[in-house]
Symmetry: C2
Subunit: 330 residues, 2 copies
DNA sequence: CTGGAATATGGAATCGATTTCACATCACAG
DNA sequence: CTGTGATGTGAAATCGATTCCATATTCCAG
């Protein structure tokens, strides 16, 4: 690999002048510029980003920490992030934690060592240890998907969305409504959505049957098992509609209902949340909430860039919009 | 941010000794080591990766160029790559080209400037310009998903897989078989799979109807339109089975067939390729080919690491296994 | 008790860029 | 013709680490 020194020698100028040509700063005679440009072309010289970063303290890299890349939600967010950042010459250093909370903190340190210009955390569960570590950070930082006190974050209005969909189900005439949630450690999906469901039911003076409120993990099978528990509870009563906090959960539940010979939405209605691609192509298509994941990625990228530029350095919250998508499952 | 110089001053030793403690090399007295460790803890010092890389010529970063992150195939591959690399302390710098061939080459240069230790290209269409650029590369390089002459690559045995599924359809008793492909610029999915289909038909002395061989793009709607063209050809004949080169194409086709009131697989059978999550949950579930995408990611990561270690520096091809998954759509 | 190996430490060069500063030349206004 | 601002260039410091080499001390074998 050629270095700036080689170019300088070939072009018979100093390294300083080569640097001036590359960065288009200061005064350079046409003659010198031409010789440098020729030398660069001949050697295929590319300036080392590492040496540059060492000197300028700018890396043009944003670290992105994510829980698991191979989910639709996350990959759409990342897609938005990379697209937006690339417009400004920034690149993304990925850190995939695979849902391991220890790795989350490790990666935070690793990214610090790489002196990335900013860090975006795509969050699901947020441990106290992580929050502590985040507050120690001195570089621009933002969270996507959850709300963390004192930290800039883009999150979905999970409460309102879940409230809306519950009200929608009620408006359709249902009074016996089941709920499939996830552990409350996930603030947004687990806690907020459940709280909204319960509140909406109370606000409409509808009864809450404890057997009808089930907790599952994030996968499809888990949704299947959760609704099974609902139907096999001793009191032999079953809801006429079920709200699942994710599409996959809803789809798992639909499997069970079909196996049991129940017709959707005739015998029982069901709704999901997330508008995954899956939700559009199952039979019947799933009524769900559409979140603008990619837009959220773009948004958080812009916020980080603003912070790097020194604008907008204070904490900021923003909730992204959603919309209810009515299909045939309810 | 504290630097090695600060630590040296606090611990009253030279920078050399601090470096020795950090990297656990050479001789350091227990006393000195203790003071350095204390200083590091007190200041929260993290060595700069940039400075280190500049000196050692090792970045511990692998560049990954991909066409589009938000597809299941790619995100599963990336998941395999990051997981495997993280075991060896490597990180991934992502370059998302969003299917822009110009960006592919730009990113290749960008990654070179960052002096990544190796580059993995997840490929769909491979232009000649790109191949030329690849051959100029001096750092470890591997391709995932396509075969490029003279370049280490992991690819799927697309020809054999497509041949197998065609034979499978024929064995089920079908003789009038349609095909939905993609442009042949995509060597693996477009060219090889089509070639295999045609060969299998010939080998079984079955007729090829030109109206029944359609070309589509990669999305679901495109599959819908392709089969529509098949059914609306003037000769009024329709195949009794259709092979689509991707699951999404197959799913688009299924939509059309359902709208037309045809029963799958009774009136017409259909198959996809890829075993996307979608394929399992559509109705009826899709017969398809399962590829081990994540395993492929792990495999290519290991190959790159071997190359970095100097082992296995020569060109290498390897084809990953697949298996036919029979479901109810055929 | 002496010489070589093992232990311990630091000075200084180095990696490849940017940036500050000093200096040289030139043009032109007054 | 002289002073001043614009133009052009390079020497040297700098960023934050690693590493080679020199040097100092200690230890033990012969």
């Amino acid at each position: 690999m050629a270095t700036i020194k080689d170019i300088a020698e070939i072009a018979k100028v100093s390294r300083t002048t080569v640097s001036r040509v590359i960065n288009d700063t200061g005064y350079v005679s046409d003659d010198a510029r031409e010789r440098v440009l020729q030398a660069i072309k001949r050697t295929g010289y590319i300036p080392s980003e590492y040496a540059k970063s060492l000197r300028t303290k700018q890396t043009k890299v944003i670290g992105v920490i994510l829980p698991k890349i191979s989910t639709e939600t996350v990959s759409r967010m990342v897609s938005g992030i990379t697209e937006e950042l690339s417009h400004y010459g920034y690149q993304v250093l990925l850190a995939n934690t695979n849902l391991d909370p220890v790795l989350e903190i490790d990666y935070l340190k690793l990214l610090k060592a790489r002196q990335v210009d900013g860090i975006i955390l795509v969050a699901t569960n947020v441990s106290d240890a992580l929050i502590k570590e985040i507050h120690k950070l001195t570089i621009p930082f933002a969270v996507l998907g959850q709300e963390i006190p004192g930290v800039t974050s883009i999150h979905y209005d999970d409460y309102q969305a879940a409230y809306d969909i519950t009200r929608h189900v009620i408006k359709k005439g249902h009074t016996s409504i089941g709920f499939i949630g996830v552990p409350e450690a996930d603030q947004a999906v687990g806690y907020e959505r459940k709280r909204a469901f319960i509140q909406a039911m109370r606000d409409h003076a509808l009864p809450l049957n404890e057997h009808w409120i089930q907790e599952a993990k994030f996968d499809i099978d888990s949704g299947n098992e959760a609704i099974k528990r609902m139907f096999e509870s001793r009191d032999k009563l079953a809801p006429t509609a079920v709200i699942a906090v994710t599409d996959r959960l809803a789809i798992g539940a639909m499997q069970y209902l079909k196996e049991r010979g129940l017709s959707i939405p005739h015998d029982i209605g069901i709704t999901g949340m997330g508008n995954s691609e899956l939700s559009r192509y199952v039979t019947p298509p799933l009524t769900t909430i559409h979140y603008h994941y990619k837009t959220a990625g773009e948004e958080v990228a812009r916020i980080i860039l603003d912070k790097i530029d020194g604008k907008n350095n204070d904490e900021k919250k923003s909730a992204l919009s959603y919309r209810l998508i009515e299909r045939d499952s309810l």
